[in-house]
Symmetry: none
Subunit: 117 residues, 2 copies
DNA sequence: TTATCTTCTTTACAGCTTTTTCACAGGCTG
DNA sequence: CAGCCTGTGAAAAAGCTGTAAAGAAGATAA
């Protein structure tokens, strides 16, 4: 779950991102992202495990000042969640922190519940 | 689908490129390329299987800095596709990755894309 | 050299795809 | 409950790609 140098290979759980090769895979399957999606995912994975504000993400990816009315980050987080879910349904990667921003952190593999509820 | 040393014989599926002899053949039939076409095909085959930006291709083939507005790579990709299609109709070799570039990869034997939802 | 043919470069535009923006439903917090 | 947040579908805007065609440059032959 470690960060890495921009442009290098990034890894977080089952996710692997290789920005220089324009590729991201989850559990071996390609994600088929657009360039904005790949850039945002890269920014998130580079900041794995910590809560990141929309502003930080926006500036990192869009490279221009953030306006609080701009919903681009939300929209693209939605797109990423959707594509991640296609490949690994039910698994959560991007967590919302109400009022603060988002946090990328692959949900650990669900352990089978042996206890009877 | 292995890379090879510049100027050596290159092979990718049914395609064979011998840059030093100015020859490329597909399934035994010659392609009859111009020199630019052969150079671009060589650059692509040397990078088989990975997504390559227009800039990388342009610099490799034209040997000068790339301008975003230059469409030469696209035009020559079109020419190559056309000539490849004359010899092996319907087979896809050069894939477009929207917003990123191109990827050379001989399409494996037809596999129906029945997406199971 | 001139005429002619081939190749290379550039341009234009239609057809797509992606990105941005907007609106509204629903969620969260105090 | 009131008021700001967030998720998301969809329309609008922007951007990218395929390709024909025109113009420029280079090659060939007489």
């Amino acid at each position: 779950m470690e960060a890495a140098i921009e442009g290098q290979e990034l890894r977080a759980g089952e996710l692997e991102v290789r920005p220089r090769e324009f590729v991201a895979t989850v559990a071996g399957s390609p994600l088929n992202l657009t360039s904005r999606e790949l850039e945002l995912l890269t920014a998130l994975v580079e900041r794995s495990g910590r809560i990141v504000s929309r502003e930080e993400l926006y500036v990192a990816v869009w490279g221009e000042p953030y306006r609080r009315s701009d919903r681009s980050v939300d929209v693209y987080v939605g797109k990423l969640r959707q594509k991640l879910d296609e490949v690994l349904p039910g698994r959560r990667f991007i967590h919302t922190h109400f009022g603060f921003g988002y946090r990328f952190e692959p949900q650990p593999v669900e352990r089978p519940i042996t206890r009877i509820s």
